[in-house]
Symmetry: C2
Subunit: 353 residues, 2 copies
DNA sequence: TTGAAAGCGCTAACAA
DNA sequence: TTGTTAGCGCTTTCAA
């Protein structure tokens, strides 16, 4: 309490005028041990006597030394970073993928580093270039659709590349995900089996959301197999939320009042639609059935549980991270394919056949 | 179409057996220009004749060269990375902060790199150490509470450090956020003014969520000023969602049926509670008033708009990024303080006085 | 406008 | 168990 700065006496040192970051040399001098030995201690490598180890550790802590990984990486040509490239953080889906990745990588030396593309191919190229220039140990990247330049960069990087979320297409290297086309088909089949016939689709206007498009394609295909087609469609521009779901639903039902099923491209707009229909006194799922996609857990607790389909987000993240971790270790493998199967949840908004 | 690999003729090169990553030297040899000049072209530095510039660019593209930032950073001791350290991605709040940061940094050379602590001080120390060892140009980190070791690292790093979200405490360097204590007080005052007297609090059991705690402290303080105290409290462990909100609300109302206001620590559990109460036929906001926190936009479209308080997430991200960008450029400044004012939204669940 | 030399801070490889 | 030497791929600085 008598010092001018209560922190100045902390173990991490009294270098408030700290300018030049500390180097191994500083620790070496402070401990009277060679730089090399200091390096060994700090990396737990090789045999170092307990005594010197103590001395070095004490000196490093006392000075507040933080190693310079830039120099370390250059010297060893090893970088413990894994580039994770996703289209958006707002989508709820991607944070969960990220959690799966983190969970697996926590048990390894590897560290995920995040890049966001905002669904733009140009941004994707830029982010990729930026991240690859740090020579990461692997890349986990959402989707299979990308520019030829991006493909070339990934192919030339000489590191494991795992494309995630989607398996409808040809990967550059490894691939982990679900078939969105199949997910669309499965949902359509369940709806048709339940007896619905006048089916409307509601989605957000995102030309670059290939996975949503594939689901819709699969959906339409399976309807076709039952000699049905979409009775109406409604699209919204902007972010997904209850408000949009509500408005889209209002519009589509005004335009086509005899719809008996509403298929939403995600649970959030589906939930908005559900709330709207319930308010209107519509019998759900008797008069109109509804379904979304993603199986968003935070929505459990709506007046009715929305029918949906699990997109295996966390598992996808975990599997992708495992592939990278595995290969970073052994330097063998390549071209892994993990195809997960989405689970249909009927909830309370889809009649049972 | 006659080649064995449709991609092999792409501009980015035919090095399918790529092992050793390309270096400046490779580009130098391919273009017949010194490494130094190649470096200058690739960085748009110094005077280079249009002719050589062309040649170099063509060679680099043709080979698919991606610069090695590790070497570049070591040589120039400049790193265009900004470490962003947050407790969680699942919280909805942090992706928005991140968006604010990205938006501002997109106009600069700087790149955000994300680290997640899961509300654990140990994890925070680890992530911080890891990120600082890459010598970033700045750190943006959530909250003001951290271990002495973490503080020391940040103080010694010699780079701009912006602590965000909260301003109730002493920052290490710069600080951007709102006063959660004040936010709690403001909400309590609005509730008391509206005439509610039997007030219950519902929150998630997160001892490390200091901001939620400060809001509650401010809330209780302002109730005290009106000679009131909390009539009941209910806590839930786990993730925030409608389901938890619903169950907590059921429990607290069973235990204390005469409550006339429910204050939730966030909008998600608040929304669950709102749906529950409406189903029970409770008059909202006549019999019971309700409020949450964060002003989550995706919830606009609930049967009633939940009273809430904006936490200025995007603005916080933007302001923090501006501070880092500014200082990375000019090397002056320090100790900036930006205190934002949360806006109260009465919505439909808080009577107007 | 271009090139040559030195060195950023660390680690691999070898020597003592 | 510890130390020495060389060099990772770039950029800075200086010379041509």
């Amino acid at each position: 309490m008598s010092t001018d700065d209560p922190f100045s006496a902390s173990a991490a040192g009294r270098r408030s005028e700290a300018r030049r970051p500390l180097t191994l040399r500083d620790v070496s001098e402070a401990s009277g041990v060679s730089e090399m030995t200091v390096s060994r201690v700090l990396r737990n490598r090789g045999d170092v006597s307990a005594a010197t180890r103590e001395r070095v550790l004490a000196a490093a802590k006392q000075l507040g030394y933080v190693p310079n990984k830039i120099a370390g990486a250059l010297a060893s040509s090893r970088v413990n970073l894994v580039a994770v490239i996703i289209p958006s953080l707002s989508n709820l889906v991607f944070p969960e993928v990220m959690n799966g990745i983190s969970k697996v990588l926590e048990d390894t030396e590897l560290q995920p580093v995040l890049g966001v593309t905002h669904y733009s191919p140009e941004q994707e190229e830029k982010v990729l270039y930026e991240m690859l220039s740090w020579r990461p140990s692997g890349v986990i990247i959402a989707g299979l659709e990308r520019s030829e330049a991006a493909r070339a960069m990934l192919r030339n990087a000489g590191i494991p590349v795992v494309e995630i979320m989607d398996v409808d297409g040809e990967p550059i290297d490894a691939m982990v995900g679900i078939s969105h086309r199949r997910a669309g088909r499965m949902m359509a089949q369940a709806i048709v089996e339940a007896g619905y016939r006048r089916i409307g689709f509601l989605g957000t206007k995102m030309p670059r959301d290939y996975r949503a498009r594939k689901r819709l394609e699969g959906f339409i295909e399976a309807l076709g197999a039952a000699s049905l087609e979409l009775a109406d469609e409604e699209y919204y521009e902007g972010s997904s939320g209850f408000g949009n779901g509500r408005e889209m639903t209002m519009r589509i039902l005004e335009r086509t009042p005899d719809l008996d099923f509403l298929y939403y491209s995600n649970d959030l707009i589906g939930a908005g639609g559900l709330l709207y229909c319930l308010e209107q006194g519509i019998d759900i799922p008797g008069q109109i059935g509804m379904a979304g996609f993603n199986r968003v857990e935070l929505l459990d607790g709506l007046p009715r549980q929305l029918a949906s389909m699990d997109s295996c987000r966390q598992e996808i993240g975990e599997a992708a991270a495992r592939i990278v971790a595995q290969r970073a270790g052994s330097d063998t493998g390549g071209g892994e394919r993990v195809v997960l199967t989405p689970k249909l949840t009927m909830g309370d908004t889809l009649l049972r056949s």
